[in-house]
Amino acid sequence: MSSKVTDITILECRKGTVKGVKDHPLKGRLLSLGILKGKSIEIIHTSLFSGAYYVRVGTQTFGLRKEELEQILVS
């Protein structure tokens, strides 16, 4: 999957629908957590010291770091 200019990550729009996950060493794990194409995704808030992000994917919630969210493309 080549990164096109139109690709935006969840970090940039905070709410959307998952389009895919960028090629990254942790891609397999992100997928197996159920972060799959077509799921609704939303950043709820961040923790102290601009740390981890509280993220809702479908009906599940996760704590994800900035670098991890940068891999998630949304539309």
């Binding site: 397999g28 794990r29 957590l33 808030h45 961040t46 102290l48 740390g51 919630t61 770091r65």
Partner: protein, 698 residues
């Protein structure tokens, strides 16, 4: 012949440990100090007269392990020679997360295990308006699906019956994932009596599986290069293809009767994980935890002390004096009392930790502090180790297996023992009375509880400082990740937590009890016997006393006992170390306790108890009173001043005095280098800090 073995497998938070507890009851065999589920647990059970062994494996997301505890699952399932390699698998999934949980299911199924599916928390799913057509699901999967709930005790009979029938019927399934031609070429020569998919997983992790032969591993790596096999994209393609298959099933069997509403958990988390309120809540919970430990435990601790004092006196009245009686009343009983007395506190601590973990709160705390710990070179998951370490460093160090990066993991292991564990509490309890009086502020907050909190804070300070120092020496390019699931909050099952608290306390009593029993006996012998010439020394002291009693208000008996102890083997050992510890404010008796407590800290109290019991006729007064009365033979002043007590406490906060922890660190890091550094780093700091405290205060 060994029993047939059934493994219970599933994602983290799927509810399988609760099921395992339910099925196994008190028959569990856990490793020593199995804390948070990091190691495999087994139990021999009986269903309809048939014996079975069930195994509870750590929760994992897929057969592509990232962390140490996920590796355990892959190893058990892929190595037929593993001691708990199962004959069949009971897969547990949460109906609410069925899609994601079925990923691991399809992988395990493709390994060729006979299996059946258990849907946990049926009651919770129903409340959410989630309907799973289990009959249709069973038809599509080709094996039974059992819906159960531990809380309502529903479905458990059916589930038990299936444990037997899964072993009886032939349940080979058509593979869900068909290997690509490239993958096929990669594994076609690999024969370990496995399904094609089993071989593929072996090939993926060839370098990490020590049970493979060196030759096989090299061959696989060579082939991967030859075929220019891209492991990552192969894994991604496989995962996506599996989810395709799962999606078709889900759409046919799951009906969601209610529209998506923001869950209660998410609403609660807007406050609980709020960037400012969240940490305050966490600190408040810690505060409550310590208050509970030191107020609730007070009364039962006194009962235990009294029971021991009574039984010791009872024995003295019943049996005539002799070395055997004395060894029991002066050695073993005070020694055992020293460890048993803090069972109430450990139980409360383990219980509260269980509540925090089971309810889902601990994951939130990890989330809150991830960034903070990252700055220290650690991981949010280090928090689990630090909180558990307030009970015991051993399960805490084992819990670091969920940290992927080796650097973060080693750092966490190195600083974890600075957190005050329950073995230090008896030392603190005995000594805190010499620092502040036992009183309440505003009638409810225990002053000693507050001082205790400051001891813990000192330990936490050391964690932060040493993490920052050590991170400079540890370099790593490994990826670090959080990717933390925040499961819905749930009411913890109290029976479950009480049960696991009991298992932990039991193993604590056995492990600590063994050491203390042994050391108490050795110590008693050393304190009761001495080299020849001892009698002459004692006579001389008594004569001296008769001529010049000095200012001391002592009886001849007391002078005799003191001289006897001084000239015993233990006394000689204490005297030998005294020059080193005198600058810290300690005398040779404390020296004996310091030496013995390098085996385990709690031995301090039992050593004190033994030393001060030798020769004393009545055991009505507790160890604290004996220490209060203690006079330093050199200075003639009270031995336990505020300065000495504080210096001793500081020593116990920082020093590495636990052989079991060092052994676990060796095991988890794979080298003696780390425990050695840890020992000198911690004990060196302890000596320096105690020196400063004593010299400034006295």
């Amino acid at each position: 012949m060994p029993n047939p073995t059934i493994a219970i497998v599933g994602n983290p938070n799927c509810g399988k440990t609760a099921l395992f507890n339910q099925l196994s009851g008190l028959r569990q065999k856990t490793g020593n100090f199995a804390g948070v589920t990091v190691d495999k647990k087994t139990a021999d059970i009986r269903v309809d007269h048939q014996k079975l062994t069930i195994v509870d494996l750590p929760g994992t997301y897929s057969l592509y392990p990232l962390t140490e505890d996920e590796h355990i699952v892959a190893k058990v399932l892929l190595d037929p020679a593993n001691e708990v390699h199962p004959d069949a698998v009971l897969f547990i999934a949460d109906p609410d997360q069925l899609e994601r949980h079925l990923l691991l299911y399809t992988q395990i199924r493709d390994l060729g295990f006979p299996m059946f599916l258990g849907l946990s928390m049926a009651d919770v799913a129903e409340k959410k308006g989630l309907k799973v057509d289990t009959e249709e699901l069973a038809r599509r999967l080709g094996h039974p699906v059992v819906s159960f709930s531990i809380r309502n005790k529903s479905g458990l009979d059916v589930l038990s019956k299936e444990l037997i029938s899964v072993l009886e019927k032939d349940r080979s399934h058509k593979p869900i994932y068909a290997l690509t031609s490239l993958e096929d070429q990669l594994v076609k020569d690999l024969d370990h009596g496995m399904t094609p998919y089993g071989r593929l997983v072996l090939a993926h992790h060839a370098t990490e599986f020590s049970f493979l032969e060196e030759r096989d591993r090299e061959e696989i790596e060579r082939k991967k290069k030859e075929l220019s096999f891209d492991a990552m994209s192969a894994q991604v393609e496989e995962t996506l293809s599996r989810f395709n298959w799962i999606e078709r099933i889900i759409s046919a069997v799951v009906a969601n009767e209610k529209d998506y509403l923001e869950s209660n958990s998410l609403r609660a988390d807007r406050i609980i994980t709020h960037k400012l309120i969240g940490p305050l809540i966490f600190l408040f919970i810690l505060f409550l935890m310590f208050q509970a430990i030191y107020t609730i435990a007070e009364a039962p601790m006194q009962w235990i002390e009294q029971v021991f004092a009574l039984s010791s006196n009872f024995l003295k009245g019943l049996v005539p004096a002799g070395w055997a009686r004395d060894m029991v009343t002066e050695g073993i009983l005070p020694g055992l009392a020293g460890v048993l007395v803090f069972i109430p506190q450990i139980s409360i601590l383990f219980f509260i930790l269980g509540l925090l973990e089971e309810s889902g709160y601990l994951a939130r705390a990890v989330f809150l502090f991830d960034r903070f710990f990252q700055r220290l070179g650690l991981n949010g998951r280090s928090l689990i180790a630090f909180v558990s370490a307030s009970a015991c460093a051993i399960p805490a160090i084992m819990s670091t297996r969920s940290i992927k990066s080796r650097k973060e993991r080693i750092l966490t292991i190195m600083v974890t023992p600075f957190i005050s564990c329950s073995a230090r509490t008896p030392v603190y309890i005995v000594l805190v009375g010499f620092i502040v009086a036992n009183q309440k502020i505003w009638g409810i907050i225990s002053l000693q509880g507050l001082v205790f909190l400051s001891f813990y804070l000192l330990g936490i300070g050391a964690v932060i400082i040493f993490a920052l120092i050590l991170r400079l020496f540890l370099k790593s390019n490994e990826p670090s990740f959080l990717m933390l699931e925040l499961p819905d909050y749930k009411w913890p099952n109290l029976t479950d937590i009480l049960f696991s608290t009991w298992l932990k306390v039991k193993s604590f009593i056995i492990e600590a009890g063994k050491i203390i029993f042994l050391i108490s006996m050795v110590l008693w012998v050393m304190a009761s016997y001495g080299p020849s010439g001892r009698d002459a020394y004692v006579e001389e002291k008594i004569e001296q006393f008769k001529v010049d009693p000095g200012s001391k208000e002592a009886s001849i008996d007391e002078v005799k006992n003191a001289a006897l102890l001084e000239s015993s083997y233990a006394g000689i050992l204490g005297k030998w170390i005294e020059p080193v510890i005198r600058p810290l404010g300690y005398d040779w008796k404390i020296g004996i306790a310091l030496i013995t407590s390098f085996a385990a800290r709690e031995v301090f109290v039992s050593t004190m108890a033994t030393i001060y019991s030798i020769g004393s006729e009545e055991d009505t007064e507790g160890i604290k009173q004996k220490m209060q009365a203690e006079v330093n033979s050199r200075t003639g002043e009270k031995q336990y001043t505020q300065a000495t007590a504080l210096s001793l406490i500081v020593f116990y906060i920082f020093a590495m005095q636990c052989m079991s922890t060092l052994a676990v660190v060796r095991k988890e890091t794979g080298s003696w280098k780390w425990p050695a550094i840890q020992f000198f780093m911690m004990t060196g700091l302890a000596y320096l800090a105690s020196l400063i405290v004593y010299q400034v205060l006295s």
